[in-house]
């Protein structure tokens, strides 16, 4: 896979500092530390992934060709599994918040979550997971071999599901290049990265 790492930066240093949660007083002795911590650290890089034409299945049980699904439209992709603790509930909530923030904008991207646990995550299980979060986008699973080949293509497989990385991928409508966000981002960070990708 041809992959170029153009830039890698700690976005925390570049983002406007987020307002303190729950109205923490500015005089708080830990306010400085607090603000440093408030914008999560994520790493951004650019990649030219070969879009696989692998057949997958969406949460409604409909067969989907990944390349066709994503052709000529802006997309935001993340990788989750329904039994995941800690990371995935937050990634799903972040994507939902991003979707809400982008509602009504031009270039509204297609949102796709790909399961890293095809053994367990059947379409029905993905559907109820999506409903639990109120997430109204495409969730994909498939045969283990197909899903692993897609995950491999996106460099998103770390040998086991519990070892999976918090990765969000973004791509403009006609861009060949993907923007990879590694780490758990705030919604504002995701929105800001998206506006770079979409412009």
């Amino acid at each position: 896979m041809a992959r170029t790492r153009l830039k890698m930066l700690l976005i925390a240093g570049f983002m406007p500092l987020l307002p303190a949660v729950n109205g923490l007083a500015a005089s708080d002795e830990h306010a400085h530390h607090h603000e440093m911590m408030a914008a999560p650290s994520v790493q951004i890089s650019k990649h030219a992934y070969q879009m696989p034409g692998t057949p997958l299945t969406d949460e409604k049980g409909v067969s989907v060709n990944l390349r066709d699904l994503m052709a000529n439209r802006p997309v935001v992709v993340n990788f989750i599994y329904t039994s995941c603790t800690t990371i995935c509930p937050v990634m799903t909530a972040s994507l939902l918040q991003l979707q809400r923030q982008l509602a009504g904008s031009r270039n509204m991207p297609l949102f796709v979550s790909i399961s890293v646990d095809p053994d367990f995550d059947s379409p029905a299980i993905l559907k109820s997971y999506a409903a639990r979060f109120g997430a109204d986008w495409t969730f994909l699973t498939g045969s283990r071999a197909d899903v692993l080949s897609v995950l491999g293509g996106f460099d998103a497989w770390r040998g086991s599901k519990a070892n999976h990385a918090a990765v969000t991928l973004m791509r403009g409508a006609n861009a060949g290049e993907w923007t990879r966000v590694e780490g758990l981002a705030s919604a504002q960070q995701l929105a800001s990265i998206w506006s770079d990708v979409a412009s």
Binding site: L18, V21, H30, T85, T86, V90, D117, D119, A162, A187
Partner: protein, 538 residues
């Protein structure tokens, strides 16, 4: 609390014990509902902000999502949530990032503002909750009780592990469970590394706490069941009271495992990998872990294999099966999958116990029922007559299915090779090249003088022991049953240990270790080879 148990409890200050040593929260406790389900005490949903600005609500905001039931948490990716059991939260922390023990006020700051008792910001992944005063009180009370009750069956130097054996379970299973467990426990307790002496000296050694204190001798309690299943719950309860165990390991009943399953769930006892072909719907529950879904998995794989052949809707399916729980469970699972695929209701022939199926039975059955598909859930000896009836019979195109929970082809080579138009479903590993399918298990059994046991039974008992040992080592001194189960989910998904199954996987709430089976010809099943076999996952 009888004898000292949790190391962390030992460090617990007595003043704290006075107000925090409460019984575990009952099921309807508002703090428990908030912790596990994200259910607020009020009318509106529980809400929080995570990662600075991402709103989460309800079940998505439940504490258990990260800290798990145990409060000790498991790692996910590179994230390791902090442990929040009462003995840890309310005790000062020394070493790196020291902090005083939490008070009600500092706990409130941590949960609502993300500031720990030492004044440091917690990771943005820790949600900043919006709590009503009642929510705050409920979660504070709950956290004061979390991890304070000692798990039964654990003393300073011993951990009791029970197994369950019903008197009328198949002899091969009863004998394998008893002999493998006794041998494994004997080796485990061999003390070849002076573990007992080092554990006893742990408090005099600078790092003894870390290395040696968690060592316990294993003691096996065999809970015996007699009579019909209706009396088993009482028998289990009596034996549990007489000899409390930390966990149930392997075991066999020869009937449904339901009674044991429900007993373990009610008493919150981990129940690890018993021998059963009919496990209950375990993924609604927490404490019971099974190898596969048994006959239900095999039945659904037959339906799946038929679906791939795109048969006409009027395809006639006949199921021949024993009139007992395994047969019923298999039929129901097949029937529901088959109907969902648009098939017609499958016919079934119920066999009374002891019924012998000769060539005449099969000839008559084939002529009368004229099945396109015959699912023969019977022993291999009962299929000798079927092979003869098929040869030169009037229904040569009938496709036959058998499955591993009912038919063992390894001892019936002649019949296996005669049945040409047939498929067998097996969840077990197959041989690669000239190797046997289960070399490691066979080496162990041979080396322990147990080579006469059926490797597919004994190998499952053996792996349950390996899993227990690995996980007890993994939980170190945290003898919490919830943490034990959470760790099993995690450990068994990444294990290097081989099982009888080609691939095992587990995750939070997942309770079947293997989710697929091979579909292969009976002759390949007889030889144990992968020739022409396809692996199907459900």
């Amino acid at each position: 609390m009888s004898r000292a148990n949790h190391h962390s409890l030992a460090a617990y200050s007595s003043a704290l014990l006075a107000w925090a040593m409460t019984a575990p929260a009952p099921a309807g406790d508002p703090g428990l509902l908030l912790y596990r389900n994200g259910q607020s005490t009020g009318a509106s949903a529980l809400t929080a902000l995570v990662q600075g600005d991402v709103p989460i609500t309800g079940a998505g905001a439940a504490c258990t999502n990260c800290h798990r039931r145990s409060g000790l948490g498991t790692a996910e990716g590179s994230v390791r949530p902090l442990p929040i059991t009462a003995p840890i939260l309310f005790t000062p922390r020394t070493g790196a990032r020291p902090r005083p023990g939490y008070t009600d006020a500092s706990l409130k700051r941590a949960v609502t503002e993300g500031i720990d008792a030492g004044g440091r910001m917690l990771d943005p992944l820790m949600p900043r909750y919006k709590l009503t005063p009642r929510d705050q009180q409920a979660i504070t009370d709950y956290l004061k009780s979390l991890g304070t009750s000692a798990a039964p069956g654990v003393t300073d130097d011993e951990i009791v592990i029970a197994t369950v054996i019903a008197a009328d379970a198949p002899a091969a299973e009863r004998i394998a469970v008893e002999r493998v467990l006794h041998k494994y426990f004997e080796i485990k307790n061999g003390g070849s590394r002076q573990e007992v002496r080092r554990a006893a000296a742990a408090n005099r050694h600078a790092y003894g706490d870390r290395h040696d204190r968690s060592y316990r001798r294993w003691r096996l309690a065999t809970w015996t069941l007699t009579g019909p299943p209706s009396g088993w719950d009482k028998q289990l309860r009596q034996q549990y009271v007489a000899e409390p165990a930390f966990a149930v390991l392997s075991g066999t009943t020869g009937h449904d495992w339901d009674v044991v399953h429900h007993f373990c769930e009610t008493e919150q006892i981990p129940c690890v990998l018993p021998l059963t072909d009919t496990p209950p719907d375990a993924e609604q529950d927490f404490y019971s872990l099974y190898y596969t879904e048994g006959v239900r998995l095999e039945a659904r794989i037959i339906a799946h294999h038929l679906q791939d052949q795109r048969l006409p809707p009027d395809t006639r399916v006949l199921v021949v099966r024993p009139d007992e729980v395994r047969g019923t469970a298999a039929y129901n699972a097949f029937s529901s999958a088959w109907l969902k695929q648009g098939g017609q209701s499958p016919r079934q022939l119920l066999l009374a116990p002891g019924k012998v199926l000769d060539v005449r039975f099969w000839q008559r059955t084939l002529e009368k029922e004229r099945p396109d598909i015959l699912i023969a859930w019977v022993g291999s000896g009962q299929l000798v007559g079927l092979a003869a009836a098929m040869e030169g019979g009037t229904r040569p195109d009938t496709m036959i299915y058998t499955s591993e929970s009912f038919t063992d082809w390894t001892a019936a080579g002649a019949t296996a090779t005669q049945l040409a138009h047939a498929w067998h479903v097996s969840p077990y590993r197959l041989a690669q090249g000239s190797q046997t399918p289960f070399p490691r298990e066979q080496v162990w059994l041979r080396s322990q003088g147990l080579a006469d046991l059926d490797v597919r039974i004994a190998g499952r008992v053996l792996f349950a022991c390996h899993a227990l040992g690995e996980q007890l080592a993994g939980i170190e001194n945290n003898f919490s049953r919830d943490y034990f189960m959470e760790g099993l989910e995690h450990m068994l998904d990444n294990t290097n240990m081989t099982t009888l199954y080609p691939r095992t996987t587990l995750g939070q709430g997942q309770r079947y270790l293997s989710r697929g089976a091979y579909v292969l010809s009976p002759s390949a099943a007889f030889e144990g080879t992968s020739t022409g076999a396809s692996w199907v996952e459900m």
